[in-house]
């Protein structure tokens, strides 16, 4: 594949993810605000976005940090939320076989729900060669990275000035809610969500804020069982 075809693929990736970026901006701003409100200093709050680069996990971590949860519980909760990336990594791997070590390392760091969604669609629909697929993936993934970093820095800047009466922390469950519904696709995922939600309410009193992890485990178990026993 020549340079111009590769450049076309790169811009096609940018173009595909562009409409999604508009929805990412408020999410990033809220992640920045939440980090500041949790009590992180501005440097930590800003650094969290490039270091973690995963919105739902950043929000959940900020929420637990604000409540002084046990450090291990905070880290585990964030990693459980991000376990879905293993699934994306697996489904992109056959299309990206033959990637160099550096490209693998950087490409993995940039993997998000959104970049995965646009790339996996493209790889199914077109027969780009490896160079084209890599260009398309990086075009979409880097666009999302820049948008996330800029919007979360914006959140950190405004975050310190938002009066508590605005109840902006309520945006956190709202973001999770908007992310939740698209994940409910069939009977199993619906059951997993219902069991996890009710368990989380029932187990809220568990020490160390372990209720969330326990509820997630129960919900996942319910989903798996429903699939094994139809």
């Amino acid at each position: 594949m020549d340079d111009s075809a590769r450049r076309d693929a790169l811009f096609a990736g940018v173009k595909a993810i562009f409409p999604i970026l508009l929805g990412v901006v408020p999410f990033g701003v809220i992640a920045g605000v939440a980090a500041v409100e949790a009590g992180l200093d501005p440097v930590q709050a800003i650094a969290m976005s490039p270091i973690v680069f995963a919105g739902a996990a950043q929000l959940a971590a900020a929420d637990l940090i604000a409540r002084d949860a046990a450090p291990l519980v905070i880290v585990l909760t964030a990693l459980v939320i991000n376990a879905r990336f293993a699934m994306y990594s697996a489904s992109l791997a056959p299309s990206l076989r033959g990637l160099g070590a550096w490209q693998k390392a950087l490409g993995s760091y940039l993997l998000t729900d959104q970049a995965f969604a646009v790339s996996v669609t493209r790889f199914q629909q077109t027969d780009d060669d490896l160079g084209g697929r890599v260009a398309y993936y990086f075009g979409s993934a880097i666009s999302l990275w820049i948008t996330w970093q800029v919007s979360s820095v914006l959140g950190v800047i405004v975050g310190s000035g938002v009066p508590p009466e605005w109840s902006l922390d309520f945006a956190i469950p709202l973001v999770f809610m908007a992310l939740l519904f698209p994940t409910i696709r069939d009977r199993g995922t619906r059951l997993a969500a219902v069991v996890a939600a009710l368990s989380a309410v029932a187990l809220i009193g568990l020490p160390l804020n372990l209720g969330l992890l326990a509820a997630a485990a129960l919900g996942i178990s319910a989903g798996v069982i429903s699939e094994v026993i139809p």
Binding site: P26, Q44, I65, L79, S167, L174, A193, A200, G211
Partner: protein
């Protein structure tokens, strides 16, 4: 506001970042040696987003005051936003309607 020390916060942020990168890297590196995701693992991974997100949402609405209470502004606003999230699947619309409903309910002062 947290009472964890800055050093501990850095350690947590760093651990989450490193762990997340390793998860993202996992199959890009291993697939080649392993042909596909083991079915048992795939089955567990499939249910994680729905379970975790649901477990994050409901307690934030039912325990807005710290205690179980369904008569709060937040529970009502959350219920309204849930309908929007379900119907539109749009993050921006869900935030806008949910925050708008919360502010309106707080101004009205009918609930807790």
């Amino acid at each position: 506001m947290t009472s964890h020390s800055p050093l501990l916060l850095w350690a947590m942020i760093g651990s989450i970042g490193l762990g997340t990168w390793l998860i993202r890297l996992s199959f890009l590196v291993f697939l080649g040696r392993v042909e596909r995701v083991p079915p048992a693992l795939g089955r567990v991974l499939r249910f994680i987003p729905a379970a975790v997100l649901a477990a994050l949402v409901l307690p934030a609405l039912t325990h807005a005051t710290g205690e179980f209470d369904l008569g709060t502004d937040r529970f009502a606003a959350g219920a309204i936003a849930a309908v929007v999230a379900w119907q539109t699947r749009n993050v921006l619309a869900t935030i806008a309607v949910g925050m708008g409903a919360l502010w309106a309910l707080q101004a009205l002062g009918w609930l807790r």
